[in-house]
């Protein structure tokens, strides 16, 4: 059976969706990913969907679901590389994926995960945090 590979990178898991994903594959990915999070004790998950050009409401709901489930398992999810057309489609479908962190590319996504996974801000400039739309973790 076809599966989407889940790679482990340090404390994070890395998933690249390189094929057009159907509903069954999506469900499998969700099962596998949750199992891996528990097995490896990963604190972060990076999902790269830059190759994905087709998206439906099921896919959108699944992404939101994976994010919520991972958070329950204490892992932060960042979805990276969403194509403009996919973003527009999701918005038109009414799925704006609140609660899922998004990033433009893998590099940015890793930076966000790094930031999120650093328990205490060591070094760097103290940030007063005003004017920021969200409090830095």
């Amino acid at each position: 059976m076809e599966r989407i590979p889940i790679l482990k990178l340090g404390k994070s898991l890395f998933v690249t969706v390189q094929v057009d994903i159907d509903d069954r594959l999506a469900t499998t990915l969700q099962d596998d990913l949750m199992q891996r999070i528990v097995d490896t004790g990963a604190k972060g998950v990076l999902i790269d969907i830059s190759s994905m050009e087709l998206v439906d409401s099921f896919m959108g709901r699944m992404l939101a679901g994976i994010a919520s489930m991972s958070r329950i398992l204490d892992a932060e999810v960042v979805v990276v590389g969403m194509a403009p057309v996919v973003a527009i489609t999701l918005v038109e479908l009414g799925l704006s994926l609140p609660g899922v962190r998004m990033a433009l590319n893998v590099e940015r996504g890793m930076a966000i995960l790094d930031q999120a996974l650093t328990p205490l801000r060591v070094g760097g400039e103290p940030d007063d945090g005003d004017d920021l739309p969200y409090a830095p973790t």
């Binding site: 403009p84 527009i88 918005v91 060591v122 760097g124």
Partner: protein, 313 residues
Amino acid sequence: MALPPTNADGEGSDAKTTPETPTPAPSSNGQSLLASLLFERREQVLDAWVQAQARKLDRRAGRRPDADVRAECTALLDALQSAVAGDSTDVKGPEYVEVTRLVDFMSKDRARQGYSPTETAVAVFSLKDSLLGVLEEVLADQPELLVAEIKRMNALVDDLGLQTFEAYVAGREEVIVSQQQSMLALSTPVVKLWDGIVALPLIGTLDSERTQTVMENLLEAIVETESQVAIIDITGVVTVDTSVAQNLLKTVAATRLMGADCIISGVRPQIAQTMVFLGVDLGDVVTKATLADAFRVALRLVGANLAAASPRP
């Protein structure tokens, strides 16, 4: 005015099959009286036509040089001459293809140049005056034939007049559509303000079609410039009602899905009031009063993330 291009292909080809110069049938025939009249008294008809136009449009004299008008009329008259030789007054018929094409061209051209409907229609309707005069002169001693010919001619010119108006309106429509398109293209520039910051100054209103264009442009720009922050400036947006707010929120949501933060700036006091009265909820979207404020936040956001990306111990 430029003369219409000779149409050698397509619809014009039909007209070419009709004889260019009608046989000068004797006027006693009656059937092609109009044709022979146009042939024999061509110059007279033409002069009267051009003069009638000049007379009717004298208030705007000088707007079109007489030579242009004359050239136009000559071309139309030639086409008409070959058309009426077929003894048909149905302007939708194959004989009239060339005439219709010329009339369409003239009317659309005038529509594009901003002439009024009257000015456009007079060009064709003056032909009636001119032909009336000539018919009266030729058939002065045959009143019955005169009436019959006048009826025929009247119907023909009226039909051509209707054609003129159709073409005029079509021309206007084309102008409106092309203006809409160029406005759509012009009004959605995405500006790069800083490394990782793009701004989109919105002007006018935000309907769903425009939202689509705006969204596409913005998202493409975010990918191209690898931007982290997008500022939508609504200083130039006249009113914000519920649908505009909805469209704004859609754009913000799409931007967020791309992994960029979105700030709305340029919210005027009246607009803030309207939005609250309407119960528009912008959710957790960051809004700022001026572009400068938004830019400051954006810089801080970019800077903060840059600091986070710096090498760690």
